[in-house]
């Protein structure tokens, strides 16, 4: 990374690692603050998540004996659809007034911006899950026969898997026609191993029939691989004109 020459200008020689963290934090706090100020989008997303849960519960009989087997799949598919709604608005504020140009023209590293957006989405989708999961537990009378605490790493790793690639593909979709359709078109195929991991892991714990260890390791591997890929390649996406 070149250090350009310049006249005067204080506070410009911060080491790049501090700057990256500062920028990520500043962007994240800005986004969360703005999200909080206009709660409209958030409220609609929460309501959409609720609707998804209700519709799924109508479609797949929750009282059947087999419900414990399918509940894992249902919960995660419902979360996937709700997440797409959240992911599609990732860059909405930046699109207005071409704010991304201001970011691109600055010395700020692109993947600091990416990290902030991904973390913001992680909070947002976790919030949606916090609404949907209790409802599913209630509607399906769910009780884990296996070690329930393992649902936590599955939840965290699975959510990150969806969010990290979702944020990335949302940025790719910015450059396309049919932007909001493009995101799921790109996200779903690539997410298949992660979705399998989430569903199989959750089902394993709910039914208590198998160990979820493999799935947790798979999700961890998936997250590491794709977080690295996203951080490495985001700059190329941001700079595609």
């Amino acid at each position: 990374m070149h250090k350009p020459s310049f006249t005067g200008g204080d506070a410009m020689s911060l080491p790049s690692s501090t700057t990256r963290g500062t920028i990520t934090r500043a962007t994240l706090t800005k986004d969360l603050r703005l999200e909080w100020r206009s709660k409209d989008a958030l409220n609609s997303m929460l309501f959409f998540s609720l609707l998804v849960v209700v519709i799924f519960s109508f479609s797949f009989d929750p009282l059947a004996e087999e419900s414990r087997r399918i509940a894992g799949g249902l919960v995660w598919v419902a979360i996937l659809f709700a997440a797409v709604v959240a992911l599609n608005q990732t860059w909405a504020r930046e699109l207005r007034n071409q704010v991304l140009d201001a970011y691109r023209v600055s010395p700020a590293p692109p993947n600091a911006l990416f990290m902030a957006k991904a973390l913001g989405n992680f909070f947002l989708v976790s919030l949606l899950e916090a609404l949907m999961t209790p409802l599913f537990i209630i509607f399906y009378n769910l009780r884990a026969l296996g070690p329930a605490w393992q649902l936590i790493p599955i939840g965290l790793l699975g959510t990150w898997a969806l969010v990290v690639n979702g944020t990335f593909f949302a940025a790719i979709s910015l450059r396309t026609r049919s932007r909001e359709l493009m995101l799921p078109l790109l996200l779903f195929p690539i997410s298949i191993p992660a979705v399998l991991g989430m569903v199989a892991g959750t089902t394993a714990i709910l039914t208590g029939e198998n160990s979820a260890h493999f799935w947790i390791v798979l999700l961890l591997t998936y997250d590491v691989v794709f977080t690295t890929a996203c951080l490495a390649l985001f700059e190329k996406v941001l700079e595609a004109e």
Partner: protein, 245 residues
């Protein structure tokens, strides 16, 4: 170079005919499955060809991101398109084979499911190329190809494990192959490779021509208001005077 094309076309046609003869007549009939098994000689070589083409696409995508050479991008696009065609053949012949032999259309076995996911990824790749502007599509698609390549091993591995926990019939089976069948298989693969090469080459030429026409049109639209530049229109390459960075 251009003269080789018709030669390749004729060679491919001959090889395909020979391959069909080998597959349908010469190859021995399989003991348990009967003649239906002959679809194997289409299913497997198509898969190998598709995988090879997608590998070419991956390499071209990475090279493009580094060098930004438009010809490399054309190669990436072409190999993806032809690859999807062969991948479709795999996915269609699989169920056709499975139904009479195993009684089911589909099984979520490792190979077939991984091929399906590969197909999905590359269809989304083609859609991305179609839906983005021609200026940005190459870089974005190249990035997607890399993501796809990272994904496939994870797909395979995850489904493999899932299948060990929940076993189901495997289409195509395992076991050793009679050396005579192996020979027919390889002949068919050679024929398919020639065919793939022919299609890629033809599509590549088409794409390069299309881009040249675009450049010439662009130049013409700008030079249209200028006086006295008809010489430049006749030879667009000279006028554009590419001096790359």
């Amino acid at each position: 170079m251009k003269r080789l094309f018709p030669i390749l076309a004729v060679l491919t046609a001959l090889m395909l005919v020979y391959a069909v003869y080998q597959a349908l007549v010469v190859a021995p009939t399989e003991r348990t499955m009967g003649d239906v098994q002959r679809i194997f000689y289409y299913h497997v070589p198509s898969a190998w060809t598709a995988f090879l083409l997608f590998l070419v696409n991956l390499v071209a995508s990475v090279v493009y991101l580094v060098k930004r050479n438009p010809k490399v991008d054309a190669l990436a696009m072409v190999s993806a398109e032809v690859g999807v065609v062969f991948c479709t053949v795999v996915l269609v012949t699989g169920p056709i084979w499975a139904r009479p032999v195993w009684g089911i259309w589909w099984t979520w076995d490792v190979r077939l499911t991984s091929t399906l996911v590969l197909w999905l990824i590359y269809v989304s790749y083609l859609l991305l190329r179609r839906f983005s502007d021609s200026a940005q599509a190459p870089a974005l698609a190249a990035v997607l190809a890399i993501f796809g390549a990272l994904d496939i091993p994870l797909v395979y591995f995850s489904i493999w494990f899932f299948r060990t926990q929940h076993p189901q019939p495997v289409i195509g089976g395992g076991g050793s192959i009679d050396p005579r069948m192996w020979r027919v298989l390889l002949i068919n693969w050679m024929a398919f490779l020639c065919f793939a090469l022919l299609m890629c080459w033809s599509r590549y030429r088409l794409e390069t021509m299309r881009r040249e026409v675009e450049e010439a049109q662009a130049l013409e639209s700008l030079l249209g208001d200028d006086r006295g530049s008809s010489a430049e229109i006749r030879n667009p390459k000279v006028a554009l005077n590419r001096s790359g960075p």
